[in-house]
Symmetry: C2
Subunit: 663 residues, 2 copies
């Protein structure tokens, strides 16, 4: 399948060949295959599991350790009420259409998009235009026998309407989509049947805690809520000082209606989320911003997108924040850190951009949001969201639970205010109000300054006021002037209370790993069957390949010594002792992305050292075991490069790789 | 609360004080506290989250890298059918009793145990015996007003009966427990009400995948099933060679009826499970067993337990395997590796033993099992199970799905066998059997040798046979001698097919972390309020505490240089600049378990280096920053000890710790 997406060496990316490699080398596969596989769930085999561990160790180092964030682990099982408060019960939903005859469930926006795109494609074919391959659901491929495949030319007006429809689909409500389905006679591409109107379906997995049936719960849709509910502990640990940040690496579970595109849309996935708490009145400055001001980023802003553009502007983050293109320093600092993280794990920087969310696109809690998007063969994919969630979550949880979730700050310069006070004379009010005393007190406290002033006038005028108390029978109470008085008093303010704002970089680990695998994949020039996964040594799943020149028992002792030394150095390795040529052994292990190969040959037996081979260049050096291990250790820690090593150790010109090319 | 459990320095362990430290330093807390906390769910704060990450990195290094295991990540959401096959739908259950008046759910065995233990305690009080504190459910403490607390003396016979009952409770069926509840008038200790008879409740969290309602699923109760279903991929990755082992670090979810004892019985927990696949006919030898033969382990075998003993025998694993005390080399090898892992993360080796499971105690799939138990203030707790699961899981999944889950091995010496064959003449049978042809063929293939021989005699006798074919109408078919013939034929056998056996070390990470925290906890002699968490530098959550002598702006530049150097060395650190005395700052950070402290003082400003303080001994050395950083790096990698460092760097005699003692 041809694609406009290119490999790192500029060749066409062949997704079939790439996916075949992932299967063959057991990077990943659909979970529960013997039971028919479950959509949207994947297992990671040894190469991908180890890659994830390495990448997450870099993440921990880059964010948690370097930024001195507070690492948190919160529960995945989450009580109903928590997610009701956060808004997820109401809003974490998609519209679906049911095929009444087959029972199939189709996500409404996907249904419309698939059908309209396929009509446009068919139109282009009928017009004789070049048609690039469109992503197809394998389920569709299998079942779509009932759907006609003849190329049909559309009226120019219809074509225009369809194109506009696709561009504005994200803005549609459920009713809008229902109208579109009717108007354009959109049917199930699987069965050809008409579908029922879209209904909203919550996308969380529901379950029960315990056996009583009294504790309904969900699997969390994001790790953030647990972090917000830990706010008090975090503040305690930070000695009450802001800004502070928590970080959590954990799983989230969206019950997708139609999972697709492998790791890009799944039902269970690892996230790494940072919640950075700032004083909203601080201007959201970041103490380390000066150190990154000069860093250039590719920014695709809202304005460019509105005008139909898709080319990011490359600018320093300093300029971007100064010009308010990026709202504040903290957001800007994190964009830079996200980019340097991607660089550190080996992402192709030509396939990375930051895209600002359109106003209608943001989550229900966000006030501004930039996505770090990575280009892969499925298009530009959101891999990190960097949102300003404002004070939304802390405020709703405080309101729902009565738990104090603000910061108290001593004022440097205390000041006086003159304020209206409502003073209840409890000795007199007690016998009269009885059990309603505290309700009345609370209602008085909640009165605005304006209202208190107004009531003071009524009181002076009539000697009594009527106070609304929603919790009392009748909803109000009459209070005489001997029970309550309204006076204007001076008060010294020494503390400030505020709800922090939250800036949240949120990483989808599966999407990052998938993009990384595509970014490091390429094929050797002149031998396109030889695929290479060029993982950086720092994150490569296995660091060293050990290959004895051929099957020969004389190598046994030396091999076992070498293995012991690699083990002592805590380097992961694989030994390939199979009978095939050394070139072929290197070739098939290049597919696993092992960066370095150590060959044990007859000269090694004579104490003349070993050869060390670099995966990407296939160049080799020859040196003593000590020198080789030192070089490999340094390269795997990112402290030296192959260029450095091949510059200081004697180059070895072998015939080895030629053997590889023969195959 | 006094306890017989001692700290590492031999003092009484004060659990209240310990738990207060865990709360105060935000190691952990019940999840969703603002919503009233959910039982059996805990959040980890920065110290514990970082500890877990460090401990799991050691685990990965100790098992996955060193043993070259295949790391796997499988899905938590698991289709109903998978766990039906594995036996979990039927057998992963507990008995519960419902209080019909309050709706409370009580786990039957806990209910009986709690009530009987409380009667025995009351009896001891009545007899004037010393009563040690018994673990109590906090829920009980709050609500138990309705239950009488007067000490009641029991008849000697009843006392004996109760003691016997407690000792044999684990063997009881649901009906047995129902009878006990009736006989001894056991009522809810919360309400004092009679309870309903015990009913079996499945302990898995159930949910639905997708919106169709056609995909019921559970959250997995163990990570093992995903590993078994990946068997073919693992075998492919291992080039078909056994023994091979997979390893998975992931979450499991038991929906406990009455979670208790903090991290020891929870509803969501991290496991690390190894599945080691061996040829059952290999004697379960392990290639590296010779290297561990000499290692001594404390083994508490089945026989000693039956005789009422609880003292383990310390013996080398070589002797234990030779004498069949431990069944085989592979099991023995893993017991050693488990112990060295515990040593490596800093567990107290005097609080570790291996206990063999009693026959009635093993899981439904196990044929032998040793637990690594750690002693903490709750008693001896199973933290690692090391079970021989035989071929059970692979066989049931193969049967349920028809997926081949065996190993094919080329025989070194092929041999001939003479076997009865049933040959169907398809040309003749086709027109007669039509659509049933394949069913008949399958039925013939499944006949035993004995049956084929028997049918051959009938055929020779009567010229036709009647063949049972359960899938055909009527359940059988008559076959003439021109359609099928039974002949004895010689066949060369070149391959062997077998289902591997599985040995499974399974680690409960939360229990290990909790035990570790208790093991490293102690208080300074003469100042019991000063608690210390002596985490090994290799796993300590934070490595370095930086303390400027006092608040003084002149330290700023040096501090920032020091921070930069620590960051470059990838050492996590905390700066304590608060105004309190340096001794107090050390004392309160000893509670976080930070192993090393660097003091910045006025001599540092004069270029005379820094002092480095050891948490456990409170001893200090003074040296240049380069020397100090090198020493800290080495100690944090486990390559040097404080003894080594204080031997080679000049000792510093400060007044610092005395200040600490003053408080």
């Amino acid at each position: 399948m041809a694609s406009e997406y290119k490999t790192r060496t500029g060749d066409d990316f062949d997704r079939d060949q790439f996916e075949s490699l992932l299967r063959r080398k057991v990077f990943m596969w659909p979970s529960f295959e013997p039971y028919g596989a479950t959509k949207g769930l994947f297992d990671y085999g040894p190469p991908l599991e180890n890659l994830e561990a390495e990448v997450m160790n870099v993440w921990r180092d880059h964010f948690i350790r370097h930024e001195r964030m507070m690492a948190l682990k919160c529960s995945m099982l989450t009580p109903y009420r928590v997610l009701e408060t956060s808004g997820h019960v109401a809003k974490f939903a998609d519209y679906m259409c049911k095929d009444p005859l087959t029972g199939d469930i189709l996500r409404a926006d996907h249904l419309i998009k698939d059908v309209i795109e396929s009509r446009l494609k068919s139109d282009r074919e009928a017009r004789g235009e070049k048609v690039s391959a469109v992503e197809e659901d394998p389920k569709l491929k299998k079942k779509k026998s009932k759907v006609t495949k003849t190329a049909v030319k559309l009226d120019d007006a219809v074509r225009k309407e369809y194109e506009h429809l696709l561009a504005t689909l994200d803005d549609c409500t459920g009713d809008d989509m229902g109208a579109l389905i009717k108007k354009h006679d959109i049917r199930s591409p699987i069965s050809g049947n008409e579908v029922e109107p879209p209904v909203s379906v919550n996308l969380m997995f529901q379950t029960q805690i315990g056996a009583t049936g009294k504790e309904p719960a969900f699997l969390r849709p994001e790790t953030a809520q647990g972090q917000f509910l830990s706010f008090q502990k975090l503040l305690e640990y930070s000695d009450g000082q802001l800004p502070m940040a928590s970080a959590s690496i954990g799983y989230s579970f969206p019950n997708e209606l139609s999972p697709r595109n492998g790791l890009l849309r799944v039902r269970e996935f690892l996230m790494a989320e940072v919640e950075h708490f700032v004083d909203p009145e601080s201007g959201k400055k970041h103490p380390k911003f000066a150190s990154v001001r000069h860093v250039k980023l590719p920014l695709l802003d809202r304005k460019t997108q509105t005008e139909g553009g898709s080319t990011p502007t490359v600018t320093t983050i300093g300029e971007a924040v100064d010009s308010k293109l990026v709202d504040n320093e903290t957001l800007g600092y994190f964009l830079v850190r996200i980019m340097t993280f991607m660089q550190r794990i080996g992402m192709d920087m030509n396939k990375l951009r930051f895209r600002q969310h359109m106003a209608n696109e943001m989550a229900h809690y966000a006030t501004d949001c930039w996505d770090c998007e990575l280009l892969n063969s499925h298009g530009w994919i959101e891999c990190v969201g960097c949102a300003d969630r404002s004070a939304y979550d802390l405020m709703v949880h405080e309101k729902a639970t009565g738990t104090f979730m603000k910061v108290r700050e001593d004022l440097k310069e205390p000041y006086e205010v003159e304020e209206w006070q409502a003073n209840l004379d409890k000795k007199k009010s007690g016998p009269k109000l009885r059990k309603d005393q505290s309700k009345v007190e609370a209602a008085l406290n909640e009165l605005s300054q304006e209202m208190k002033e107004k009531l003071s006038i009524t009181m002076a005028d009539k000697g009594k006021v009527e106070l609304p108390v929603s919790e009392m029978e009748g909803g109000k109470v009459e209070l005489d002037k001997d029970i309550v008085t309204f006076v204007k008093e001076k008060r010294k303010v020494t503390q400030r209370e505020y709800t922090p704002n939250v800036i949240e970089p949120s990483f989808g680990v599966g999407r990052i790993l998938y993009s990384l695998m595509e970014h490091v994949y390429w094929t050797r020039k002149g031998d396109e069957a030889r695929s290479v996964m060029s993982f950086k040594p720092t994150v490569a799943p296995i660091k060293v390949l050990v290959v004895p020149l051929q099957k020969d028992t004389r190598f046994a002792t030396l091999l076992s010594e070498l293995e012991g030394r690699l083990d002592d150095a805590q380097l992961s390795f694989k030994v390939d002792q199979s009978g095939v040529s050394i070139g072929r052994r290197y070739a098939r292990n290049d597919e696993l992305g092992i960066p370095f190969g150590i060959t044990v040959d007859y000269e090694s037996l004579e104490g003349k050292g070993f050869t060390l081979r670099d995966r990407d260049s296939t160049k080799q050096v020859r040196a003593s075991l000590d020198e080789i291990l030192e070089a490999v250790e340094k390269m795997c820690k990112g402290k030296e490069t192959w260029e450095g090593v091949s510059g200081r150790l004697p180059v070895f010109e072998g015939k080895v790789e030629e053997e590889g090319k023969e195959e």
